[in-house]
Subunit: 325 residues, 2 copies
């Protein structure tokens, strides 16, 4: 533990790349993607060698009105199948289930009847018991599971170790380090990665990383944590994701040495779909307001609202943040 | 050697921050900054605690016609003094002199007659002997000197060690690791930093880092190399610099723990000067074409020309690059 795994010339066969463009990117456009967009991304990910594609959330239809959102907030089985058929590819299908915002006992089929392969359970650190209940349920249904502990930059180390210990005795397959606020510097991210691995690996669990780009560090933190043994890596086309966005898939695929990963297929998709999407007015990516919330280790909600209101008074906004810190 | 210096909570009193907005940013607008812009940046840097401000090049007037460029390609003493007077501040003034593109024996006053404090000699690794000749000349005139070895990602390790050994016995004060192509990953950058420090530190030299943002790693590589002991850190307002640009000063100042550095003064400058500059059509910053040349470890000239021609056919451009690799 604590030493680097492999080097910059070697192939790490344990690496799994997960595309979450529709899920995290859906937070930028209310999940309003055309079927054509999602289908082409699905085909692109297969050609690019991506290992998992996350299609969206399984959000509660009690809490959220289906007509208020695009379909990928709910990921109905028939909507998934309209894109992937029986998914005869080697790429696996993932969906996300938020603790407290998912009717998990009613909205999931047994794995044998679903094209979904993996359910990613997202929670804050104090929700670990609730997350584990869901994980055990999904595991019983036959799914691969992950636990994505969000906003880890605000948790204290005792909490982190306790959460990891609890997850180690659960049925979860992968534990994710999630830098929701884009606050971690590579040295922090590496230290957390080592903690995660030191507890998860002996228990036979894999560890993943999901970054945000508030300080232009999503890619750097991904490769840094990977170098210590993290193996599940989240990325999105052009970094599309909430606020400052995520690790860009094109950066990650260009970095990975395994020849199964192909950058060129993704470039075709970016040119044909992502650039027009940005030009149509969907907004994400690194900007000063996100840098501020990242540096201050805060939820990006105020920065998102600054962006939505087309504000450009960065200094005023910065003072507002300090004022209610 | 090889261990980290300080930690994320500590102040490193040896750190020197160098703003090279006018010099590297000048490559984006032909050095065509208004005096008002340069004067406000000068005042901003002083308020922000920046240690050095680089005003531009001392380019040869034999090779380059003064009327073809803004004045900061030449940095005449009277033009500098029109901005800084006698520079009564604590911030030092730097200029850059390129090997082979500078009439160094005619264009420099003795330090006692100039407001310039530091001359940064930029060269490729095969030009080290010529660089050392210039360094000794500037040292004799009374200036602090640096040697900025460009395009280090294309040099082999024997060359690097030989260059560092030669510089160690010269009068140079600071040796810069320069990732001209934005090709280095944090692990590469850290390994090079350790090599630089292992040879330079015992000889009493400081080491600096100058990054480019082709792979969104300029800031990450800056803090990574700093963590191993590099102490001279280049950055520019909003990352303004050739092609994909440099490490953004606002990221760096937000990271540094020394209370002498102030982010807020810089934000005022960015809002008032940098954002209008971008809106006026001056182009720099991370984009796919720079990612390609960074990944391929190549000079960004083709990507710059792709940008200047307003091309959007990224896939075609990528194939062109592979075709003449």
């Amino acid at each position: 533990m604590g030493t680097r795994k492999g080097n910059l010339m070697s192939v790490r066969a344990d690496i799994k790349v997960l595309d979450c463009t529709i899920r995290d990117g859906g937070l930028c456009n209310n999940f309003d993607f055309t079927d054509d967009f999602v289908r082409e991304l699905y085909k692109t990910n297969i050609k690019s060698g991506v290992d998992y594609m996350e299609f969206g959330y399984k959000a509660s239809k009690t809490l959220f009105n289906e007509s208020d959102y695009g379909k990928w907030k709910f990921c109905n089985e028939e909507d998934l199948r309209a894109i992937v058929g029986d998914n005869i590819s080697d790429m696996k299908i993932a969906v996300m289930a938020d603790v407290g915002r998912c009717d998990f006992r009613t909205d999931f089929l047994p794995k044998s009847e679903s094209v979904i392969d993996m359910v990613r359970v997202a929670c804050y650190i104090h929700q670990i018991p609730a997350a584990i209940e869901m994980i055990e349920y999904f595991h019983e249904l036959g799914y691969e599971t992950t636990c994505n502990i969000m906003a880890i930059s605000q948790a204290n180390s005792n909490q982190v170790e306790e959460a990891l210990t609890m997850l180690s005795t659960s049925s979860v397959d992968v534990i994710y380090l999630v830098d929701s606020y884009g606050s971690l510097y590579p040295e922090n991210a590496a230290a957390l990665a080592k903690t995660y691995l030191s507890i998860a690996e002996p228990a036979g669990k894999k560890v993943g990383f999901h970054g945000h780009n508030n300080q232009n560090l999503a890619f750097a933190n991904t490769v840094e944590t990977m170098s210590y043994g993290i193996s599940y890596l989240d990325a999105t086309a052009q970094g599309m994701g909430r606020g400052a966005g995520n690790c860009a898939m094109e950066l990650l695929l260009g970095f990975l040495k395994n020849p199964k990963y192909s950058l060129y297929s993704l470039l075709i998709f970016i040119e044909k779909y992502m650039i027009p999407l940005k030009e149509s007015g969907v907004v994400w990516g690194y900007d000063l307001q996100y840098l501020f919330t990242g540096q201050l280790n805060r939820h990006p909600r105020e920065a998102i609202s600054f962006t939505e209101n087309n504000r450009k008074d960065y200094c005023e906004f910065y003072k507002e943040l300090l004022d209610n810190d």
